[in-house]
């Protein structure tokens, strides 16, 4: 327990130091990784703790990004207002579309989420009057908090860091709560937990809402990071990336998910010189990890090292 806390604090300090001394280039990569970690942790509620695979997280991330982008470019509201809007929008859409499907078996649920991902993407791309369609939304101003404008990579990095740390801490609280207990019970053995009085459907629907909310928050940051959103940023491929990160690190371990996001997100950048081979390597990584570490990286470490 204490070891974990020490590691956590050390990591945050290291990340802060990174923010002070790293080059803009490194900061941009780190920012993207931090933003992605939020979406991945959100997905983790479903995959790890509710026992459900979702391939719609990319689209919900997009919903959050678009909500933030459209709000700030079409109304005069300050940027930060977009955060709760993005969270609520993604959460509501995810819950409304996902709840009817969540009572289905795991396999059918995955299939439904693929359908949901594609439908949302098609809507983002073709509902031009709402989303701007294939033009995307441009001219998103820099994120400003109070009077403080975050218009350099270093400053935005701070926002992303705060977001990622908050996301992690909040997630930990949720998992440690009674609700988290229900979720794990449901994921371990649905029938048994139902007989033990757990409102299974409600638990799963809540997990859906949470994963959507997290995706929305991450999407908000994405919109202000690139300052341009376009439907092609939120395809099935992205959902696959998020899923890989959520499962690669240990599908029940928040720390594992973060580690996986750092490794895979960072690797993506450093493998780029290898061009197309990078994508083959990515797919290979996915297959191999499912073949040999289906419970994720951290599962390989001896028990006393994990929590």
């Amino acid at each position: 327990m204490r070891a974990g806390l020490a590691v956590g604090i050390a990591s945050v300090i290291a990340l802060c130091i990174l923010g002070l001394f790293a080059s803009d280039y490194l900061l941009e990569i780190a920012t993207l990784v931090l933003i992605e970690s939020i979406a991945v942790v959100g997905l983790g509620f479903l995959t790890g703790f509710a026992g459900r695979i979702s391939l719609a997280q990319g689209a919900l991330y997009g919903v959050g990004a678009y909500a933030a982008a459209l709000l700030v470019t079409r109304t005069g509201l300050p940027p930060l207002v977009g955060l709760p809007v993005a969270i609520v929008a993604a959460s509501v859409i995810g819950t409304v579309l996902g709840t009817p499907a969540i009572r289905l078996s795991g396999l059918y649920f995955v299939m439904s989420t693929i359908g949901i991902q594609q439908i949302l993407w098609i809507l983002l791309m073709h509902w031009s009057s709402l989303t701007g369609g294939p033009q995307g939304v441009r001219g998103i101003p820099a994120l400003s908090v109070g009077g403080f404008v975050l218009d350099t990579p270093a400053r935005f990095y701070v926002a992303a860091l705060i977001g990622a740390v908050a996301s992690y801490l909040l997630a930990r609280r949720v998992i440690a709560s009674r609700f988290g207990l229900f979720l794990r019970a449901v994921s371990d053995d649905e029938l048994a937990s139902a007989t033990a009085g757990v409102a299974v459907l409600r638990a799963k629907a809540t997990a859906l809402a949470l994963s959507g909310g997290w995706a929305g928050a991450a999407g908000f940051l994405h919109a202000y990071y690139l300052r341009y959103v376009h439907p092609d940023m939120f395809t099935l491929d992205l959902s696959v990336v998020f899923l890989t990160m959520a499962m690669f690190g240990g599908y029940r371990s928040l720390e594992g998910m973060l580690l996986a996001t750092v490794i895979l997100g960072g690797a993506s950048e450093y493998l780029r010189p290898f061009g197309q081979f990078r994508l083959v390597a990515y797919g290979g990584l996915l297959v191999l990890s499912m073949m040999f570490f289906p419970r994720g990286l951290l599962a390989v470490l001896p028990i006393r090292w994990r929590r």
Binding site: D24, L26, L32, P134, G136, R138, M233, G275, R278
Partner: protein, 375 residues
């Protein structure tokens, strides 16, 4: 005495050697993987060729140019990171940028960092507005293409025009300006259809178009879709003439639609027959890259070559690598580009290069200048 001279010579040679620390760093952000990989490769070839020629002639004021390549995998988010890396590497300027989505995303990096950025691979009008100070664009943008095509329609007296456009911002933008251009001539399209970039089957759209019996079909999109459209249109008995913008002026068209593309008309950024320089350059380029991984495509490599050789290099020679001076020099640049109809080109106040377009048609396995359209 000889001893001293030798030492002096040695010292001078040493100084010349350390000039490599003062190389001019040219950065380029291009796709080397993903959908734009072949275009990125062509851009790199153009830059490489210009670079080699400049360095072989002694460099710019004795300084050699080195190329710093960042692959953005045809992805906007990665494109931002890629350009940031170039800024981080302390590059002196950047020539590149392929794909409007990527450039719209990454140009913010150039603007923030004060990096002169010459875009040679994206035609979306929204790249050059009053907001960009450091970003320049040398390709005629889509509005220019669409307007030119409307002129061609008038020149060839087409009366019944059908439009089929890709629903991405490239196709949509072209459609809008072209329709406005037609309206000025009092013409309205007889049918307008849309498709998605990844579509393979166009039966539905072509069935509508066939029913409208057009004499010309305007294709606003890119390969491979427009080649498939042409093939399938001919299969369905549509014998109208095809027209398109830069997406159609790609040499691969002849490979994908050898019969269907015959006499298709396209607006382009380059043609070998416009002047002797173009011809000679194309021959040199073909020879230099005959064995390369990516087959040489003059029309795709010329803009990058010209941006470096005819615009950036003279400015670098004139003002050195001070970024602000470079920017001002580029803004004031004017001259003629080879491979285009004769006219002097210069940047307007949104940093968009104003230059004419070539109008060409497919004849056999080549593009030929369309007679009467390239004065």
């Amino acid at each position: 005495m000889m001893h001293r001279l030798a030492m002096l010579a040695g010292a001078l040679m040493l100084l010349a050697g350390t000039a490599s620390a003062q190389d001019i760093r040219l950065g380029t952000v291009i796709p080397l993987s993903g959908g734009g990989a072949s275009y990125g490769a062509s851009i790199q070839q153009g830059l490489d060729m210009a670079l080699r020629e400049i360095n072989a002639a002694g460099g710019i004021n004795g300084r050699k140019i080195t190329l710093d390549v960042a692959d953005d995998a045809s992805d906007p988010a990665q494109s931002v990171i890629a350009l940031q890396r170039l800024v981080n590497d302390n590059d002196d300027l950047v020539i590149g940028g392929w794909g409007s989505s990527q450039v719209l995303a990454n140009m913010a990096v150039a603007e923030r960092a004060g990096m002169p950025y010459i875009v040679v691979g994206a035609s979306n009008p929204r790249i050059t507005t009053s907001a960009n100070k450091w970003t320049f664009r040398t390709l005629t943008n889509d509005n220019g293409h669409a307007a030119r095509l409307a002129e061609v329609v008038s020149l060839l007296h087409f009366k019944k025009i059908a439009i089929i456009y890709d629903t991405n911002d490239y196709g949509v933008g072209l459609r809008d300006i072209f329709t406005a251009g037609l309206a000025k001539q009092g013409i309205k399209a007889v049918d307008v259809e849309s498709y998605q970039t990844s579509d393979k089957d166009f039966t539905a759209q072509l069935t509508h178009i066939a029913a409208a019996e057009p004499d010309a079909v305007m294709l606003f999109g890119t390969l491979p879709a427009i080649a498939a459209i042409m093939n399938q249109a001919r299969d369905q008995g549509i014998d109208a003439r095809f027209l398109g913008a830069a997406g159609l002026s790609n040499e691969a068209v002849m490979k994908l639609a050898p019969q269907a593309a015959q006499h298709a008309i396209a607006t382009a950024y380059f043609h070998v027959d416009t002047d002797a320089t173009a011809k000679e350059w194309a021959a040199r380029y073909q020879q230099a890259f005959a064995q390369a991984n990516q087959a040489p495509r003059p029309s795709q490599a010329a803009p990058a070559y010209e941006a470096l050789k005819l615009m950036a290099a003279p400015c670098l020679a004139q003002v050195g690598t001070d970024k602000d001076k470079l920017r001002l020099c580029l803004k004031a640049w004017h001259g003629t580009l080879f491979g285009l109809p004769p006219a002097e080109a210069h940047f307007d106040d949104t940093n968009q290069l104003l230059a004419p377009l070539v109008v060409e048609e497919v004849v056999g396995t080549e593009f030929k200048l369309l007679p009467g359209a390239n004065q």
